[in-house]
Symmetry: C2
Subunit: 412 residues, 2 copies
């Protein structure tokens, strides 16, 4: 007897046929483990369709109402799943964020969970009923519907697993787990059976879209054993667990390529205290995230100031920075979007000085110039010219001896 | 200053363009009357689409989940309406049945209202915000979503108007009110400016689909002034009011034609007590409504037993009745679906004996044979051969001198 929380993403419930296959798998699982709670996303494409309608009405639709609108996607899917489960003899009941309730703050479209009541779920388990929870959504203390941001159904599932002290939280998606690199870029990428929460967080932050970052944070905080599986029948899976449960030979566990990167440089900025703040605060005000920052001071009282942002923010950011550049007397502003960020991710990078050296050597041996570098406990990232991105991934992957069988499924 | 509840049906909110036109009209109305609450149906076609999905999964989908599924139609429309109102500078908030709450019994797919909280609505009025209520839906005391049956948004609107003691409840639809007959059948049908609750109830029961029967019952019970208007710009409208507010010259106010009628006759049934119960109880168990019933006793101890039911129930009912007929020793069972029911509806029919005579005379003067007759306080109905249906409506309409300008819009 065990208690399992299963989450099915949009591609896993894309049609009534998909829903039936999932329902059969849920019913079979319930026979074995006794207590199963299911969390569903909207059927794939539904959320985009609802957002498009809102966008046609207004460029900035009211965020409370946008949440009430898009939350219907998960509600439809949860009800269809419950209808299907009942029709195959597995008693089930759909539950919305409002009905659990899953209480959040009132930051619409990216709310954070404050509280999750489990009374109804526990009651359903006692009655032998499968709760089918509409993911992605919650409710404020005042009773308004909120959503947790794109990918938020992962977070719903982990939150429920944490609150119920579940034996594990299974995330079903269209890939069969985490690979050492994107198999499309690096055909020798190897499937990982295990990965640590921390490394997974870095991967999620670097654009590996298998898991929502917040769900990994939450799983780590509450020590929820998390496993990523394919709902399309692969036997492979990846467990996301504590660092101490990982016994890898290699420090490095994966290589990522982030393409949504661009940079802005201010040339010959007068080198005075407060300059970084002057340059970056208009971007913060416009909710533009700045990633890597480099300031090269020169001896003549001037500095070059360079930072990276998402490609999608480049146009707006350039306009804001050009205004500041004039005010502070910088010589010129250079914007570039022909760059990518390649990263090696793993455990204990800072305490293994050889890792950085090996990464730089692998790039230089391919004559790839490194424009910017940043490091963290779990990651070294290099900004390089876009055209070398895929070559760089393969070179680093080879240098750290991550090769295995060719991967069969790609990251979404 | 007044308090108005407006209800917009599915055809009035069929597209984003329709929703924008409605929003502009709501905003303009709010300027004038101060407090406006809006109730919306699902965009036309949405409910059917959701029901079709459920039907593909199961012939008898779980009714709790069916309600959770179809309630999303009104939720989507309420959110889109609130987004639109906000985008044109009219503050608005969507509210679901769950959020008001509008509490119902737990008879899923045709729940009845038990309680309606108005605190949130009153608070929004104080703040100058337009509440946009998702019609058709409620919530049980246990927190499950329910729906009020097809056309239930009318009932939501009237219930809110009653609970708020509103000055009036406006039902916007694709016709501009009630006519003395279907203008498609009777080109000389006259628009009615006023009609009594009781007569409207008979009309709704006879297939005039402009208003949901329960909404009229509720309006009558709580004396809510109700008005049916077109959302497509006609200046005409029909008020539904108390009988004492009607000062019509004519007793008869309308003529209806119900096509969804069929009949079953059991020939030479042994005339014993309890036979009617034996014949009809299997139909009641199968939730088949029996309308008119006639038993012709003969002198030799046998009777013919005839009743009408909806055409859509004929096949199932015939099977059930044939089984009983064998058991009770009836000679044969005859089923016929080539019939219709034509009715004259008005105030004080029973107390005006001339009315029935005039109706029968008008039919006989066209050589139309009357197969069955039933009467009530507000109605005389005759079952006749289907092919004479439209002719009968025109003949009765003429006999009671109901002619007026040709009607421009037909009943839905």
């Amino acid at each position: 007897m065990a208690l399992i929380v299963q989450k099915y993403g949009g591609t896993s419930v894309a049609s009534l046929d998909h829903i039936r296959r999932v329902a059969e798998s849920v019913a079979a699982r319930k026979q074995k483990v006794n207590d199963v709670a299911v969390v569903v996303s909207a059927m794939s494409g539904q959320t985009d369709q609802l957002l498009e309608m809102a966008a046609k009405i207004s460029a900035v639709p009211d965020s409370r109402e946008l949440d009430a609108l898009v939350a219907t996607g998960e509600q439809v899917c949860a009800a269809l799943m419950a209808i299907t489960l009942n029709s195959i003899g597995c008693p089930a009941i759909s539950l919305l964020g409002l009905q659990l309730p899953l209480v959040t703050d009132s930051v619409h479209t990216k709310a954070r969970i404050l509280d999750l009541q489990t009374d109804k779920l526990k009651q359903l388990f006692r009655e032998g009923v499968v709760p089918v929870v509409a993911g992605f959504q919650g409710v404020t203390e005042e009773g308004s519907i909120t959503t947790l941001g794109r990918g938020g159904s992962d977070t719903t599932a982990v939150a429920i697993a944490a609150a119920l002290n579940a034996d594990c939280c299974e995330i079903y998606t269209d890939v069969d787990g985490i690979y050492t690199a994107d198999p499309n870029v690096c055909p020798k990428a190897r499937h990982l059976d295990k990965i640590s929460y921390s490394v997974m967080l870095e991967l999620a932050g670097l654009g590996a879209k298998v898991l929502h970052s917040r769900s990994v944070e939450l799983a780590q905080k509450f020590a929820v054993p998390l496993v990523v599986k394919s709902s399309f029948g692969s036997a492979k899976q990846t467990w996301i667990v504590n660092e101490e449960d990982i016994m890898e030979d290699s420090v490095i566990q994966g290589v990522t390529l982030e393409r949504n990167v661009s940079k802005i440089s201010l040339i010959r900025v007068p080198d005075r205290p407060g300059i970084a703040h002057r340059i970056l605060s208009p971007l913060a005000d416009a909710a533009i995230n700045v990633d890597m920052i480099i300031q090269n001071a020169s001896t003549d009282g001037f500095a070059d100031f360079t930072f990276t942002i998402a490609k999608t923010d480049l146009e707006q950011a350039t306009r804001l920075v050009e205004k500041v550049a004039t005010e502070i007397g910088a010589l010129e502003v250079l914007a570039a979007n022909n760059i990518v960020k390649v990263s090696a991710v793993g455990i204990g990078i800072k305490t293994n000085p050889g890792v950085a050296a090996k990464m730089f050597k692998s790039l230089s041996s391919e004559n790839i110039n490194i424009e910017m570098i940043s490091t963290s406990e779990y990651r070294i990232s290099c900004v390089i010219e876009e055209k070398y991105g895929e070559l760089a991934v393969r070179a680093i992957h080879l240098a750290f001896e991550l090769e295995g069988q060719p991967g069969r499924l790609k990251e979404r």
